[in-house]
Symmetry: C2
Subunit: 144 residues, 2 copies
Amino acid sequence: VTGEAPALVLHHIGFVVADIVQAAPAFARSFAAAWDGCVYQDPHQNVKVTFLSAGDSRIELVEPAGEDSPVLRFLREKGGGLHHACYEVADLEGTMREMKARGCLIARRPRPATAFGGRRIAWMLTAEKLLVELLESAPENPSV
Amino acid sequence: VTGEAPALVLHHIGFVVADIVQAAPAFARSFAAAWDGCVYQDPHQNVKVTFLSAGDSRIELVEPAGEDSPVLRFLREKGGGLHHACYEVADLEGTMREMKARGCLIARRPRPATAFGGRRIAWMLTAEKLLVELLESAPENPSV
């Protein structure tokens, strides 16, 4: 990573499912992980999400919440599955600007996310169609 | 992670593309990463692969090599995209056994992989259809 490259710290990979409550126990079992049962219902994002550990990394399960959910089309057309990669960044707007200058599209501008205590997330789409979630670092506990 | 849980260390996320040589520069540009241009052609796996850095983590690009490539159907039916999560494990057979006992299917038994210097990989499918690549740790340099 050069001085110009945004400092991206992988936070989780996102996997779309039809029903979190049905899917999460099976995921947890596969990875011998504990699931805390906490499902966030996020009115800003129109999704429900929950987190599981797979060894040293996180998997986020995402369920559409309502007919205007941004993941509903992915669920219907692709049947769910791996959906995005989420990176934590210290400078949300700066990283978006940098990625846009590098050919990425802004898929969704910053909004607060319930699952991250109100920290903002934004969505970028790379030229090759990898959907990237950017999560701003917690100011009091920056991890980048 | 309890004593029973397999020690999974995320190695990369895999993204299927039609053409690595076309896609890799765009990926590298999106993440302000350098691409070393090294494309592994793997006769054991019937794929071509290359690796890119996205901040602190890796993205593997996977291109089908031949009509019997295991990723060809994914490319044709889903149009490519996020495909698998790869975890490094110290005990390949033990982890497979453990995951199988936990409801995962063995999608492909261990074979050497050119991209990892002949270290073996195996493929598991979780009950909820997450495709998991397991990569055995290098004996001389275990990372788990």
